[in-house]
Amino acid sequence: MSKIVAVVAEARGGKVKKPSLEAVSAARELAGKCGGEVVVLVAGAGLDPAKTELARSGAARVVALESPVLASYSGDGYCAVLVEALEPLAPAAVLMPHTAMGKDLMPRISAALGTGLVSDVTALHFDDGRFGATKPVFAGKAYQKSYMERTPFMATLRPNNFEARAGGGGAAVETRAPALTQEMLKAIVADVVSASSGSVPLSEAKVVVAGGRGLKGPEHWHLLEELAQAFGPGVAAVGATRAIVDAGWRPHDEQVGQTGKTVAPTLYIAAGLSGAIQHIAGMRTARYIVAINKDKDAPIFKVADYGIVGDVFEVLPALTAAVKQALA
């Protein structure tokens, strides 16, 4: 019997998002190395769009756990139905994206299965019959490689890190109705409040424009927002340093750095921020980094690809106008 590499796909509103398709691709590659096949599990309600998408993701099989009780996310409820489905499969490995749901759900499944889990993985390994993973630690100041000594091997995968390759093929889709009742749930999502429409989440943005104390006050934040908007709708998000968040200029969910978010956009524009160690930890894996700072010796220039020495109040409006013109 061949080894099973299982993927727990995340469906929100019945649909599968890109990080789950990246996880299926990574699972196919791992299955290729260990001589296994990919089985995708997905839990929720109204999963038809997800089932269609996952059937052509390149998996061998798709198991949909569908129940009205699973319409809203419940960590303990999702854990119960997924563990029930995973146990008879006896998978060699279980993967899921390192999203808000993956971070919440996979440790529970891992504890229930009595095994380990590697979080926020950037590379998967199969060497000499052992499963392993590489992950950033200390917010990316170092990378740790480890091998699992218990079964199954489990990992959550960093989004935007593994390529989502075209799948093809029509996987067999099996739909099951788990015997879960509302009364069995210990905690459940009662409401989801969406962020303002049109804004792209910091961790998913292709371009991040970030500012620090060089902006001199929250009333000047529009300079960053205007530059972000110049890239067009849904492309760029605005980030802030810890100093800005601690000063109350911006909310915590916009903080980039070791006690905020780690981002890996294609382009990171750092304006009026010096580049503290804990900030650089959160953005050094960006593909291209642009630094704009008055101080030519600011540490941010050490990690930047392109640097401009200058006043953000002069450079940002000029850059905004130039980006608009370039994209017009």
């Binding site: 210990k186 409040v193 894996t285 200058g310 006043d311």
Partner: protein, 250 residues
């Protein structure tokens, strides 16, 4: 209300990380070790919850070596009633064994609420809280930024991609704390004096081995050298050209 806060001693976030001689761990020389920043919110929330209830206890627990006594005393000085150090015997535990060991101890003491930091800023795993809840059969919300308790039920808010989830559940619960939940207090002189007399119990960890074995620890690859494009707004044209022709992002 009996409340437990789990803490960890970690390298401060402004530390420069150097790889140790074994190639598997950091070189601790010159590194300042502190209470994990997210655990400060856990301890603060535990204290506030007890204060609001008007009765109960706050016990702070850590798995680690003798040096964690410093962070445990800090928590006692903040106002915790009791500290427990589960000695790791020099074993570098992973999230699997950490949670198994903590759960084995928590089972032996009264616990209505367990607070953990969202993640420790060394391993960045964000697993311990959710694992504990599963092992203990408790409800759980991770990355809590807002919390309201009402008798035996709670409402918690957490950030997700592009929005926020409002989660309702019942006690007993494990809640992991994120920045924004509260403003942790600083220990005052009275608290520091009182902490010296508060109990700090030491016990041996349950015999659980880590699930994973570290093969190597390495620094990230160096980034290529910076290209300085000039000064002020006059350099913007060169930047646009570089982004378009070299980086191909425009």
């Amino acid at each position: 209300m009996d409340i437990i806060a789990c803490i960890k001693r970690v390298a401060a976030t402004d530390s420069k990380i150097k790889i140790g001689a074994d190639g598997k761990s950091i070189d601790p020389a010159g590194v300042e070790f502190v209470l994990n920043p997210y655990d400060e919110y856990a301890v603060e929330q535990a204290l506030r919850t007890k204060e609001a209830a008007g009765k109960g206890s706050v016990t702070v627990v850590a798995l680690g070596g003798a040096d964690v006594q410093k962070e445990l005393r800090t928590c006692l000085a903040m106002g915790a009633d009791k500290a427990v150090l589960i000695k790791d015997g020099g074993v570098a535990h992973d999230a699997y064994s950490t949670a198994e060991i903590l759960a084995a101890w928590i089972k032996t003491v009264p616990h209505d609420l367990v607070f953990c930091g969202r993640q420790a800023v060394d391993g960045d795993n964000s697993q311990t809280g959710a694992r504990l809840a599963t092992l203990l059969g408790m409800s759980c919300v991770t990355d809590v930024e807002k919390l309201a308790l009402d008798g035996n039920t709670f409402t918690a808010e957490r950030a997700i991609e592009g929005g926020r989830e409002v989660v309702k559940g019942t006690l007993p619960a494990v809640l992991t704390t994120d920045k924004g939940l509260n403003e942790p207090r600083y220990p005052n002189l009275k608290g520091i004096m009182a902490a010296k007399k508060k109990p700090l119990e030491e016990l041996a960890a349950a015999a659980v081995a880590p699930a994973s074995k570290v093969a190597s620890l390495a620094l990230p690859p160096e980034r290529p050298p910076v290209k300085m494009l000039g000064e002020g707004a006059a350099a913007v044209g060169a930047l646009i050209a570089a982004l378009r022709n070299e980086a191909k992002v425009l």
